[in-house]
Amino acid sequence: MKYLLAFLIVLSGIESYAQKKFTVSGYFTDDKSSETLIGATVYDNLSKHGAISNVFGFYSITLSEGSHSLQYSYVGYTPEVVDFVLTKDTVINVKLKESTALGEVVVTAEKNETGISSPKMGSLDLPVKMIEHTPTLLGETDVMRTIQLTPGVQQGSAGSSAIYVRGGGGDENLVLLDGSPIYKVDHMFGFFSVFTPEAIKKVSFYKTSFPARYNGRVSSVIDVRTKDGDMQNFNKSISIGLLTSRFTFDGPIVKDKTSFSISGRTTYLSLLTTPLMSLLKIDGEKVNVGYWFYDFNAKINHKFSDNDRLYVSFYRGVDKFWVKDKYEYNEEYRKYDDKDKYYLRWGNLLTTARWNHVFAPRLFSNATLSYNKYKMSVGNEYEYTEIYKDTNFKSLECYESEYNSSIVDLGFSDDFDFMLNEKHDIKFGVNYINHNFDPETSHLKLVSKSNLPDNIPIDSVVNNPGTKAIYANELSVYVEDDWKICNTLHLNPGFAYTMFSVGKKIYSNYQPRFSLKYSPLEDWSFKGSYTRMSQCVHLLSSTPISLPTDLWVPITENIKPETSDQFSVGVYYTGIKNWEFSLEGYYKKLNNVLEYKDGMSFMGFSSNWQDLVSMGEGTSKGLELLIKKNTGKATGWISYTLSKSDRDFVSDSQVNNGDPFPFTYDRRHNVGVVYNQKFNDRIDLDLTWTFYSGAHATVSNSQEAILFPGTRPGEYTDAYSDLDDSYNNPSNTDYVENRNNYTLPSTHLMCLGVNFHKQKKRCERVFNLSVYNLYNAKNPNFCFSKSVYNSETGGERTILRKITFLTIIPSFTITYKF
């Protein structure tokens, strides 16, 4: 590697010398907080060359010797112009001031990697302000719900925060937190994502034209970057909402050298429900149901020099759900207590250390070391005590059992940005992850004793390793070039190679990627791209809601990696001031997509899971229209998606008899509207409206007979009826001709949020009033088929029962920013 770096440094030197060119490099930072700015633009007004800052705020632009006028800009900030004569490689660290003139509700369209001037397609940057100004359920601002409003993204079941991108499955989204993949991305069974809004600096979302550095999932990438911490001042904020409260605290440890940022969020749902639960008794037993979650983010950022920075970040998120019941009985001659507790606990632990080093003005590197753990536990604690009052006989029985499933990833990556010249920006790197899947382990403790003289007490512990742990290694190398061929033509070729080894099997995947932009006119761009991605892990699940018992498993010797090939074309127009128009079309083919075989479903176990599924193909095609207004007092966007997604399995796959069937979230039409209005400095309003055509479900309107094997030939006959009645009569089950044979009703939803800002003596107070489902649409949060009495015919008929529990829900959040 060091030889390669030396070569690149020498190459850049030769190239500069030959052309008499020099490099201007440095970091973009916020003037107040010194927070680095991602995707800021530097543009030379004389040579008409430009560059953008990377995810660490670093930029590099190579220019000819002589006079230059560099304009540094970032949306929402006052541009700064630096005029100078370039005679040598120069470092300019730029501090931009947040613009008060543009301080309204800002929805940005930055001219960066995901912007309209880039060859990349199907990508979007979501700044925190955009996320904060998207009203959602119970006032909980949420990254995933903002992404749901963009074209090409399908919601899961109504009300959930799950996303399905361009016909892909729910497990096909690579969600990165500070560069490290996170497995469980939601709380509360899928209603909220794990990202605390205040901790986020920026979110980049890709659904095609994936940069070559991203690997591991086939449908989308969500890259979440957290705040580094203010190097100048201490900042605090506290938000109190109906369901959760949040805080952030950041500031300098050593001014201009070291900063920290911590943030947290927790719910108090149980505190609200406990008084109600105390009134609840089922069969004389006190039952207590509770739920709790928290998120905690911490980050330290240290600047050793202009060339070296270190970031250490930590995230911990835990959910816990429990059901307790207690039964006490006091009889004349005896007394006994019966306590039972079931719990479900799951969460992520993520630690990353990143070191930025500038080897040369044109060569930037980021080395990342990460530790990522996801663990789920299901447990039961039971205790029974019995005392006979007259004889003083005492007995105790208790057992504790716990079932665990975990994934531990240890990762290392080294990413390089090599700005060869004004035409080539080369990115390359290597990424290695050691996966340790430990799907099922259990622990059991059993105690049984009494004070009888002949009692043999039992006190035993059984630890069971369960399914054998699976170790897998994933290595990927990549290279891509952002090549400005000429003023009108911009090409981004890339290539990634991934090697995944599990057991004795090694899978190699070659993933070419290609994006082209042609801009014949100043305001028009035409783009085309081809992307291939691969995925080596799968999420086993049978339900549309996110359950912690869903298991991540790696591919096996029998199950090949899933791959996607995606072709996209698009046209973009920015001729009207402050407005952007884009129309993209895509065709995506998924290979080795998994489905459960007929009559199979996920039973909660990973062992032999590969026997329950078949591999097939999926196709998705669609058109996506986006109209965006970026600046001004009124901003927002309208998105429309027309799409179709199918699954197709061969006839011997035992999936739907080999007939093609629609993907569950194949929704023909999607509309998303986001409207942000700033009335004045004190009041702003956010409104969203979504429309989704119905998803698909497998329903049945008839019953078929199903037989079970008996114990001897002829077991169904009356002759053996005295042995076991269950063998005599066939049972009934739903008869289904084809999978996903029913289109569920369409859903539409409007959410409103109003923010009232008030500057207090020591702080700013923001009072947010939100209304979820403003006009109380009866969207189906759950649906199932059911046979009911038909009063007309006197027989039965099958109906679909829609259950709506997310009706109009007002909520509030008060935030104090110090």
């Binding site: 369960g466 199979m600 309107n701 019953q703 114990t711 289904v736 001709e737 009703p745 709506t804 009706t807």
Partner: protein
């Protein structure tokens, strides 16, 4: 006041959660012809069940035409059901035979054609009593300790190819018992010089033959049978039980297979109504007599049947009951032209006589309370 109004508004909104029923507009599948059966080699009384799908429940068909072809030749033709939609097939077929079962009803025809799997070569089994065996009772969801019969089975794999099996156990067990009943009889007595007639309760006992209670075999310690579930004692998430004891030869390919399951039987011990409480005592001829014959068989099935049995395990374990979450599950079917599963099985059985007219009075530990 504002706060109070807000809370009221919130509660009202939460309570406004609602359900709505809408007509289900999907393809009408009522009337689809279905046929199912587990057809055994070397058996002259196999049963096939023929029905049609129905709105509430399937409709059994008693006048379908059933044809059986063995190795391409028509073996039998049945026009009426033996009992309630069941058709008794008397054709005898053997391992390796190509068998086609065809069902015709009102212009609709379905069929299943397959080659019978190879018969297991031999099955060896032994049964021993294990005292105080502690195990987790899946049905009762608690730990229990009982005397259980341990069944050890040994058989050689048919070949070194992929083979699929099912362990079948059948208990033929019964015991004699003294059943105590009461009856009213007319009686009379002289009270205060007058004859008074009244009803009197009289107890009597008679010897009966009772079948023993048979419980689901306990298989948690048998690796070939626990492939698809947790092998540990932890049952919290063990929603799937290998009820039909299906397994493949991945653990013993080409060699001998050893299986161990535990069978719990109840011969009437611990009756809630023990005879002695009625003032009766045993004399010699009243001592119960026990018979217990354990049949143990290995069934050779094809890949399709193996997964059908797995699906049925899911049924028995309630995996498909949460339709609200999973939606309807499309079932497996292996017939062409309709629905249902007609499967062919080759079964080798061995018989172990455990108790043959056994009188426990000879064993101290089995003497009942006198």
């Amino acid at each position: 006041m504002k706060r109070f109004c807000y809370i009221i508004l919130l509660i009202v909104s939460l309570l406004s959660s609602c359900t709505e029923d809408i007509d289900l507009e999907v393809e009408n599948t009522v009337g689809t012809l279905c046929a199912s059966g587990f057809l055994y080699s070397d058996c002259d009384s196999n049963l096939l069940y023929v029905s049609q799908t129905g709105v509430v429940s399937p409709k059994e068909i008693s006048d379908a035409l059933v044809r059986v072809y063995v190795n391409g030749k028509l073996s039998e033709e049945i026009t009426h059901s033996y009992s309630k939609g069941f058709y008794k097939l008397t054709s005898i077929f053997h391992s390796g035979d190509r068998v086609k079962v065809e069902v015709e009803y009102k212009g609709k025809t379905l069929y299943r054609e397959s080659v019978l799997p190879e018969m297991p070569k031999e099955v060896n089994a032994s049964v021993t009593l294990v005292k105080n065996k502690t195990y987790y009772n899946t049905e009762q969801e608690e730990y229990e300790t009982h005397d259980m019969f341990r069944i050890d089975v040994n058989f050689p794999d048919i070949s070194s190819d992929d083979n699929y099996y099912r362990l079948y156990t059948f208990v033929d067990g019964y015991y004699t018992d003294i059943k105590t009943e009461s009856r009213y009889v007319k009686d009379s007595a002289v009270i205060d010089g007058r004859m008074v007639y009244f009803d009197k309760t009289e107890f009597y006992s008679e010897k009966t033959v009772e079948r023993c209670n048979i419980y689901q075999p306990y298989i948690k310690e048998c690796p070939p049978l626990t492939d698809e579930e947790m092998s540990a004692e932890n049952e919290i998430t063990s929603s799937l039980y290998n009820h039909y004891m299906t397994f493949n030869n991945s653990r013993f390919r080409g060699s001998d297979c050893n299986l161990t399951v535990y069978q719990r039987l109840n011969f009437g011990y611990g009756n809630e109504y023990p005879p002695e409480t009625c003032g009766l005592t045993y004399d010699d001829e009243e001592v119960p007599e026990y018979n217990y014959i354990q049949y143990v068989g290995i069934e050779s099935v094809d890949f399709d049947t193996y997964y059908l049995l797995k699906t049925l395990n899911g049924f028995e374990s309630g995996s498909f009951e949460s339709k609200e979450l999973t939606g309807s599950v499309k079932m497996r079917r292996n017939v062409t032209g309709g629905s249902g599963n007609i499967v062919f099985i080759a079964r080798k059985v061995t018989k172990v006589v455990v108790y043959d007219h056994y009188k426990p009075s000879a064993e101290k530990s089995y003497i009942l309370v006198k």
